[in-house]
């Protein structure tokens, strides 16, 4: 276990999580217990402009959504690498600075490629 002083700083986070969880349980739980439930087929069926649903809700997503998220993850990871670098920049000197510069340059080339190839456009 880590230093208790460190853990104590997370007490507000814990309290926040407890409140958030409590609210969720409160809202869903009480509506389950108190609200009247008298389902019938007309009420529970999916509503689509008065017609029976044409297709399931599992429609296929366009693959471009996936491309956008994947590119997002990559830049998210890049940021994850930037955090410790920013914190420790004073300790690692010029070498550490240029090390990150090279890393960013590689990904910037990737970004230029991505832009030029039209991966950021939706058409």
């Amino acid at each position: 276990m880590a230093d208790p002083a460190l853990l104590a700083t997370y007490l507000p986070v814990l309290i926040l999580l407890l409140i958030a969880g409590g609210m969720a349980v409160w809202m869903i739980g009480f509506s389950l217990v108190l609200a009247p439930h008298r389902p019938d087929p007309a009420k529970t069926s999916a509503y689509e402009c008065g017609f029976p649903a044409f297709e399931g809700t599992r429609g296929r997503f366009d693959v471009r959504f996936y491309l956008v998220t994947l590119l997002f993850i990559l830049f998210d990871l890049e940021i994850a690498f930037l955090f410790p670098w920013a914190v420790a920049l004073r300790d690692i000197g010029a070498f550490g600075f240029w090390s990150m510069a090279v890393f960013l340059a590689v990904l910037t080339i990737g970004f230029a490629y991505e832009w030029a190839r039209g991966a950021l456009e939706w058409e």
Binding site: M1, A2, D3, P4, L6, L7, Y10, L14, R58, G59, R60, F61, V63, R64, F65, Y66, L67, T69, L70, L71, F72, I73, L74, D76, L77, E78, I79, A80, F81, F83, P84, W85, A86, V87, A88, L89, D91, I92, F95, G96, S99, M100, V102, F103, V106, L107, I109, G110, F111, Y113, E114, R117, G118, A119, E121, E123
Partner: protein, 201 residues
């Protein structure tokens, strides 16, 4: 039992329960959401171990980005749960055997674990009064510059690969070209014709 111990047991219990839920739930979207819960609890355990940065990374990268990707993938694939279940059942005996062997091995290692005499342990100790992000930063970009740069290239490959595999050339689609639009002058598209009365155009 200290409050930290109590927190550990709560986090670990929810972690295990939600991880089991990921495996056994019928609805793939629920599985992804349960995985988010699993990651949150794992982040809590990391914090209890003093690994704050890893905990935040787990939330930023996994919960914030990877899980969104998983949701899209689950929605992109048209999965038929019933069919998948039937296939899964056929592979169950072998799967259980492999999982059992792995479990037994891990349990045996966990019970008998001991560092060897002469082991350089622990190789990377956290210096006193330094946050783990800073300790990581001190070595990651200097001592570990080689794997760090390779990691950059791995990200690049992922980027190129994702684009190469999903971008199909689609000549049938008209693209908007802002430069062409702003460079357009009236003369490009209009012709002004002087029409004398009563002769027609």
């Amino acid at each position: 039992m200290t409050p930290a111990d109590l927190a550990f047991f709560v986090l670990a219990a929810v972690l295990l329960a939600s991880a089991l839920g990921v495996v056994f739930t019928r609805n793939p979207v629920h599985a992804v959401l349960l995985l988010v819960l699993t990651f949150f609890n794992a982040a809590g355990v990391f914090i209890l171990l003093g690994a704050e940065f890893l905990a935040m990374l787990l939330i930023i990268v996994y919960v914030g980005a990877v899980m969104v990707l998983f949701l899209f993938v689950v929605m992109m694939l048209r999965v038929d749960p019933a069919k998948m279940r039937a296939q899964g059942r056929a592979a169950l005996p072998l799967g259980l055997l492999v999982a059992g062997v792995l479990m037994a091995e891990m349990a045996a290692v966990a019970l008998s674990f001991a560092a060897l005499p002469g082991a350089a342990s622990p190789a990377f100790a956290l210096p006193e009064g330094v946050t783990d992000a800073r300790a990581l930063g001190r070595v990651l970009y200097t001592d570990f510059v080689y794997p760090f740069q390779v990691a950059g290239l791995i990200l690049l490959i992922a980027m190129v690969g994702a684009i190469a595999l999903t971008q199909r050339a689609r000549p049938d689609i008209k693209r908007q070209s802002v430069a062409d639009q702003t460079a357009r002058r009236p003369g490009d598209a209009m012709e002004i014709v002087k029409v004398t009365p009563r002769t027609g155009a």
